[in-house]
Symmetry: D2
Subunit: 463 residues, 4 copies
C-alpha cells in the first residue's frame, strides 16, 4: 500500500508540463500514472495546483560565526530554525558550508559540522567545504572528502583576506587544478579584495562610515573583475566553477564572455538581487540590507531576471545568513556590521512571483531551483526530478495565492523581514520531504533531525 498519493495536480518539470498522479512509498516516489487506483494512507487532491520538485537551496549559512572588528556574530538561524524556514519555503534539500578553523583539518571540520546538522536538520542536507589553503595537504583532503565523505563541491573566496578565507591567484590555480582532476565543482565568491580595501580606506578616511557606504565600497566592477579572473582560471585549468551570489549585469557579462572560450563557468544569483535595489541603502535601517556583494541598481535586477529566462544563470541560492536587528544595528561603521540576509524561505515565492509577472516560465523556475542544482551538486536523480525511485521531494504550489513576505508569516529566527513590503502571487502550500509532509497550511509540520546528510558522488561523465 502506498503512503501517499497526489492527484489532479499539474506537474511541471523543466522539459514540460504533465498531468499524472504520483504515488509515494517509504520516502520514495514509486509510481507515476495516469491514474492510481491503489489504496494509499493519504491522498492529496491537488486540483488547480502545481506540483514541482522540491527546491534545492545550494547556499545557506546556518549557525555560522561571522567576525568583524566589532565582535563575532553567530547567524541567528541554526540548522533547526534554518531548515524549518527552508522547508516552509518549499525547500527539501539545502547545502551548507564547512568552515575549517585555521590549522584545523578539513575532515575534522567536516565531521563536526555534519554532526551538528544531522541532529537538527528537518530536511536533507549536503555540505560544501571551504578551502582556506591550497597546500598539498588541503589538496589531499579534497580527495579524501570526495571519496570517503561524499563532498563534491568546494568553496573559495577571492576576498575576505582578514577573515582568513581568501586564496590568491597562485593558490586558486592549485585548487582548481585539483578540482578538475577530481571532477569536483568549485563555488567561487568573486570580489576583488584590493579594490574593496582601496575603496573602503578612502571612504573611511572621509568619515563615510554609515551602512550605505558599504555599497560604494563594492561597486559592480569589484565583482566583475573577479568573475573575469575566475573565468580565466576556469578555462586555464578546465575546472567547473559556479560563481555564487552574482549581483550585477557587469558580472553576468563576464560569465558570458568567458563562455565564448568554452569554459565551464556557471552562475548563481540570490532572491534579494531579484527583488531589492540599492535604493534601500538610503533607508534608516540600511544595515539590515547589508550583504556582500551589495544590492545593485534596477538595471542589474532586470538583467538577472533575464539571465534566468535565457538560461544564462544556472541556479538561485539564498546565501541565507541572518542576523537579528540587534546584531545588525550594533555597529555604526559599515565595516563592522555582519553581512548577510535571510532568503531560504523566499527563493520559491519570489521566483513564482516572477512567473506571475511573466518574467520567466514555470519550467525555467523548476530548472534553476531543482534540476540544475541537482546536476551541479551531484544529487541527481535522487533529487531534482519527479521520477520513480527518486526521493519524494515535492512542493505543491498555489499559483493564485497572494502573500506579503512579512516577518509574521516567515519562519527564520529573526525579528524582521527585509521583504516586509513585498507582495507576491504564487506560494507553496505544502512541502513533502522524502515522503513526509513538512509544511502545510502555513505551518511547519516536520520533525527535528529527520534530515539526512546526502553523500554525493561525481558521475563518470555528465550529459
Amino acid at each position: 500500500m502506498l503512503d501517499l498519493v497526489i492527484k489532479n495536480g499539474e506537474v511541471v518539470l523543466p522539459e514540460g508540463t504533465f498531468n499524472f498522479e504520483i504515488g509515494i512509498e517509504d520516502g520514495l516516489i514509486t509510481k507515476l500514472a495516469s491514474e492510481i487506483d491503489e489504496q494509499a494512507d493519504r491522498t492529496i487532491d491537488a486540483s488547480g495546483k502545481i506540483i514541482i520538485p522540491g527546491v534545492i537551496d545550494g547556499h545557506t549559512h546556518f549557525e555560522m560565526p561571522y567576525s568583524t572588528p566589532a565582535g563575532t556574530f553567530l547567524t541567528s538561524d541554526d540548522f533547526l530554525s534554518g531548515t524549518t524556514a527552508a522547508a516552509c519555503g518549499g525547500c527539501t534539500t539545502i547545502l551548507d558550508f564547512v568552515t575549517p578553523e585555521p590549522g584545523q583539518s578539513l575532515v575534522e571540520a567536516f565531521n563536526m559540522r555534519k554532526g551538528v546538522a544531522s541532529r537538527k536538520a528537518v530536511i536533507d542536507f549536503g555540505l560544501h567545504v571551504i578551502l582556506n589553503s591550497a597546500s598539498e595537504s588541503t589538496q589531499q583532503q579534497m580527495e579524501t572528502l570526495q571519496n570517503d565523505y561524499g563532498v563534491t563541491s568546494f568553496k573559495i573566496f577571492t576576498a575576505y583576506k582578514k577573515r582568513g578565507m581568501m586564496l590568491n591567484d597562485g593558490e586558486l590555480y592549485g585548487v582548481l587544478s585539483k578540482a578538475k582532476a577530481l571532477g569536483a565543482l568549485i563555488l567561487a565568491h568573486c570580489e576583488n579584495e584590493d579594490m574593496i580595501n582601496s575603496n573602503t580606506s578612502k571612504l573611511l578616511s572621509e568619515q563615510k562610515n554609515d551602512p550605505q557606504y558599504h555599497a560604494l565600497s563594492r561597486p559592480d566592477f569589484v565583482e566583475a573583475e573577479a568573475v573575469q579572473r575566475m573565468g580565466f582560471l576556469s578555462e586555464l585549468t578546465g575546472a567547473s566553477v559556479l560563481v555564487v551570489h552574482l549581483s550585477s549585469d557587469r558580472g553576468l557579462q563576464m560569465v558570458l564572455d568567458s563562455r565564448l572560450s568554452g569554459e565551464r563557468l556557471y552562475a548563481e544569483t540570490c532572491p534579494h538581487y531579484l527583488t531589492l535595489t540599492n535604493e534601500v541603502y538610503q533607508r534608516k535601517d540600511a544595515a539590515i540590507f547589508l550583504m556582500s556583494p551589495p544590492l545593485k541598481g534596477k538595471a542589474d535586477l532586470e538583467r538577472l531576471w533575464k539571465g534566468i529566462a535565457l538560461g544564462e544563470i544556472s541556479t538561485v541560492g539564498s546565501d541565507h545568513a541572518c542576523f537579528t536587528l540587534e546584531q545588525k544595528m550594533k555597529a555604526k561603521v559599515f565595516t563592522e556590521i555582519p553581512g548577510g540576509v535571510q532568503g531560504t524561505e523566499n527563493i520559491l515565492p519570489i521566483l513564482l512571483n516572477g512567473v506571475t509577472q511573466g518574467r520567466i516560465t514555470l519550467e525555467q523556475l523548476v530548472k534553476v531551483t531543482s534540476f540544475n542544482p541537482a546536476k551541479l551538486y551531484n544529487l541527481y536523480p535522487r533529487k531534482g526530478t519527479i521520477s520513480p525511485n527518486s526521493d519524494a521531494d515535492l512542493v505543491i504550489v498555489d499559483p493564485k495565492k497572494k502573500m506579503k513576505l512579512e516577518h509574521k508569516y516567515l519562519h527564520s529566527n529573526l525579528d524582521y523581514s527585509i521583504y516586509e513590503d513585498v507582495n507576491v502571487e504564487g506560494y507553496p502550500i505544502a512541502t513533502i520531504a522524502r515522503g513526509m509532509l513538512v509544511f502545510q497550511d502555513g505551518q511547519f509540520v516536520g520533525k527535528e533531525g529527520r534530515g539526512n546528510y546526502i553523500f554525493r558522488r561525481v558521475p563518470r561523465f555528465s550529459s
Copy 2:
C-alpha cells in the same frame, strides 16, 4: 489490466538515466513505477537493454516524384515500405512533406497526401507543407493549415528553381514573417541556387558530367552562404528556422554565428553526413551516393558529430529519398540523376554506434532523436518522452548488438545499401508504437494503415 509491461530495462531520457518499469494500456503509457505488480497481457524483460523514446524522423520523402531532365522518378519507398523501414530502425513517428503542384491549393495537396499516407503508414506521421509561393493566398493557407489541419511547420527552398520550389529573398521575407506571426516553424533547404548554376555550367562546359562532379558543383560555401542568409532572415523576422540536412563545418559555423545575435536558427543533420565522406564519389557506383547537399570531407563529418555532442545540432533526420539502382544508374550526367539516399532505418543505429565510439552520450542521442524534434514539431509531450499519458512509443535497444548495415537486413524497397560496409555496435531489438510491437527480432510485425496522422498545435509559449 495493463496491455504491456516492460521491466528491468535502463530508461534513458535527455535529463538522465533511470530504472523504472513501464506500464502500457490502450496505446498510452499509463504507469511508471519502481515495480509494477499489476497483471499485464504481456511482459517484456528488458534486462541488460536500454529503453528510449521512439525516434522521430522529421524528414522523409516517401513516394515523391522527382524530375530531372532525364525524366520523372518516384522515390522507391511508398508510405508502407517507408514507414516499415522506419519502424524497423526504431522510429515511431515520421514527418513527410506535402508538395503542392503548381497552381494547386496547399490544402488540396495536403488532403491528398494525408489520404495516401493514412491508408499505408504503419506508424504515426505528421506532414510539413512545402511553400512554393509567398502570395497572399499562400500565406492565408498557412494559417488555415495550422488552425484547421494541424500543420505547424512549412518548408522552403533557396534552390531548385527549375523544379519550381525556390523562393527568392523577398518571398522568404514574406513567408518567414507569416511564420513568425503564426508561431510556425520554417524548415529551410539552404543552398545558393546561382552559385550552383555557375559551377554546374562550368563543369558541364568542360565535359565534367560524371556523378562525382555533382559534389564539385556544390562545395561547402554553397550551403554556408544560404545558411548565413537564412540566419539573417530569421533574425530580421523573428521566425524560428530549422536548417535541414546540414552537411558541412562551414554551414554549422554560420548557424552558430547567427545565434550570437539571438535568432532562432536550428540545425538538422542526416545519418549519411555522419557516416560517409566525399571519398565515395571516386567509386564506380558514385551515383548511388548522390544527394544534395553532397557529402563533404572527414573534418566536416567530425565537426557534425561534435555539433551533436555540444548541443549545437538539434536533430538528426533522415532526408530519406530512395531510388533503385536502375533509377540511379539510368542517367550519365550528374544533373540528370535523381538525388537522395535511404536513411530512416539508419538514424538510430548510426547514432548508437556513435555512443559506442564515445562520440556522444546516450542522453544526447535521445535529445536529438526524440525530445528535440518533438519540441520543434509540436509533438511534445504526446511524443518525445516517456511519461504517463504520453503515447507508448518506445524502442528497446541492445547496446551490445553488432550489425552490418547491409541490404539484406534492411527494409526499404531498395536493391542495395549505401551502408553496405558499415558495421555498428548497438541496435534496436524492438519498436513499440502506440503500445503495439511493430518490430521485433529483426522482423517487421506491425500493420499497414495503423499509423495515425498527428494534428499538431503551437503552444502558447515554449519553455
Copy 3:
C-alpha cells in the same frame, strides 16, 4: 624659379598637423620647407588657413543615361560642369564609371568614356569599369583593362536587374575571384534585388506610388543583407571589396562583422547620408531627395559619422548623379523617378562642418577624403598626400568661413540644391589642381579639358 609658393598655412595630413611652406613647379610639389626664400611667380599667404591634400571623389556619375519606365534621363552634369562643381568643392581628382552597353566590349566602352571625359574634365580623373557579366570574356577584359588601360577597380551591382547591371551570386563569385587574382578592387552596390521587388510590388498594389514610398521599398535590411553577402564573398575569394554609398547602421554592422573573419571589406558613405534623414520624404518635393539606397533615420546618420571617427568607414564619395527639377518631377510613381542627387561639391564642406561640430578631427577628414581613396584606388603617392614629387593637388580651407549650401553658390548644372537649408562652418577658399588655381574666391578659374586621365597600377604589395 617656382611657379607657386604657399606660406603660413597649417598643413593637415592624416598623421598630424604641420607648419611648413610648399613650393610648386610644373604641376608638382617640389619643395616642403620651414621657409622658402626662393623666388616664385606667385605666392599665397595662407595665414589662419588650413592646407590639405585635394579631395578625391571616387564616385561620380557625370552625363550618365538612367532609364526608368518613364524614359531615359541623362544626369544633368556633364564632365565639364561636373568636374567644375567638384573643383569648386575642393576636389582635385574624381573617378567616374564606364557603363558598357549590353554586348559592347568593356574596352570599347572604356575608350569612348575616356575620350569624352578627356575633352571636358577640368581636373584629373580615373575610371572604374562596371561589370555587367562574369563571362570568360569579361574576366579577360578585366585583365586587359588593368594592364593596358590603367583600370584597377571594377564595379558590381547586386540589384538593378532590369537595368541589366545585376550580377547574381554565382557571377559575383567569378568576378571577385578574378579581382583577387589581379589585385583589383571591387566596388559593390549592395542592395537585395528580390527584397526590393517584393516590397515594391506590395506598395504599388496598395496604390502607394508617391516618392516617399521609395524609402519604404528599401529599408535598411535590404542593404544589410547584401553587405553581409558581399562580406561572405570577400572572405571566400580573398578579394578586396569597397561597399559604396553605405547608408545605414545595420549595413555598417555587417561590414564590421565581416572583418572579424579577416576579410577585406571596406566602406564608403556619401555626404547626403551624413546630412539629411528620411524626414525629407514627407516633403512635397520628396522626389528631389530620391536616391538608392534611400536616406535613413537620425540614428543611422549619427552612426555613420561615428564610423568615420572610428576609422570604420574608409572614404566619403559623392555618388553624384544630378537630375534637374523637371527630370525629377516628371514621373509620379516612385519607380519611374531617376534616382540620384548632387554631392561632389559638398563632400568637403559637409565634412569640414563635422570637424567644426566636433564629430571628427581634421586628420580623420583628410584620411577619408584623400589618403584612403588614393590608397584604395591606387593613386598614391601621386595623389593623396603633400610630398615632393606628388601632384600639386591642394585645397586651402578657411575653417571659420560660414556658408549656406544654397543653389546660388553651387556650380552643378542644376536648378536647386538638396542642401538649401544647410549651414556649414568651414569652407574651401582655393583649389589647386596640378599646380593651377582652379577655384578661388567662390569662382571657378580653371580650364576645360585640362584634367588628365590617370593610368593606375596595382602595387606589388600594399602597406
Copy 4:
C-alpha cells in the same frame, strides 16, 4: 646654407615610399624637395639606400640597480655606453625610467635621473616615471611631473612585490584613473605575482634551481592573466595603457580581446621575443638569456611577428637591461640571477631582417619604430617623422648589408652577445641625430652629453 643634404635615397614612412631629398639646418629638417640645389656643408649620396626616421626605443634601463637575494647588480650600460649602443643601432631617441626609492619623492628622483642622463646621453632622451604607490601624494606628483617636467608616461608593475614595485588592483585603479584625467599613458609590466610565487615555491621545493626553471615559473598564462586584468582596468577607467614587453600569443590574445570593448590597450614587444625561443634555456649559459617575462615557444615568436604585420602590436622597445657575464653567472638559483638582456642596438637590425624575410613591410617597420612610439609618448611631430621643422633624426639603411650580431660588432658595455649566432640582412649604415652624424661605417662618431631631455606635452586631442 644648409648643414647637410641627403640625396638619392628612398625615403620610407608608414604611409608609403618616396623619393625626395632632405635638407638639414641647425639640427632640424628644413627642406624636403624633389631636388635641392642649394649649397650644403656636407652631402650624403644615399643611392641604393633607404632613409627612415630615427628609431625611438621607448624602453631602456641604463645604470639601473637590480636587487636579488644574491645582491644588488647595476646594469652594465650607463647612459653613455647605452645611448652609444642605441645610436649605433639606429636609435635617435630613447626613453628610460625613473625609479623612486621608497619614500623618495617622484620629482626628486626624476631630477636626479635627468641630471645623470643629461651629462652622458649622446642622443635625445625622455623619462617615464615608475609609480610605486597610489597615494594622494603620488597622484599629485603625477600632475606636477606632467605639467612642469614634461613627463607624460608612467610605469606600473603587477609583479615584483619584494622589490617594492608592485601595485595591487585597488592601487592600479587609482593611478589609472589619475592617468585618464591627465591624458597620460600608463606602461604596464604584466605578470601575475601570486602565480609566479606559487610556481617558484613549488620549483624550489623540488630543488629545481637552475636558470632554465625561471621560464617554468612564468608560463604564458602568468602574463595573459595580468594583461586581461589590465584590459579590464583600462576599459573601466578609460586610461590608455601600453602593455610592455609582451612575450606570448596568449598575452596578445588578451590585448585583442580587450579591444572588442573599445578600450585603449596597446602592446610593445621586444627584439628578443622576435628572435629567440625558450630552447636556449637548455643551454649551459642559459642564465644570459634570463629575463622576465621569459622567452616563449616558436609559435609565440611567429604570432608576435604577425602581430606587427597586422598592426596589433604598436611598438618594439628593447627592454635593454644588460648584465655582464660575471653578473649573470654569479648566482646559481634562478631567483637570484638579475633578469634582463641587451637590445637597444638590435631593434632595427632584427626588424630589417624581418623585412628581408618577408615577415613585415618596411612601412610597418617604420610605424612601430618611430611613428607609433612618437605618438604614444607625445614626441610627435618633433620626433617620429621626416618633415620640415622636425628634428633631423634619421637613419640610413643598407637593405643588402649582411651582419652577424656578434659581440665584437656591438657597442654595449658587455662581454658577450645573446645574438651571437644571429645573421641579419639589412643594417643601418648611418645615424643622424638632430642633424649630427653619430654613427657611420660601423663606428660611433657622436658626442657625450649632446643628447637633450625631451619635455613632452599631452596634445589636446589625438588623431
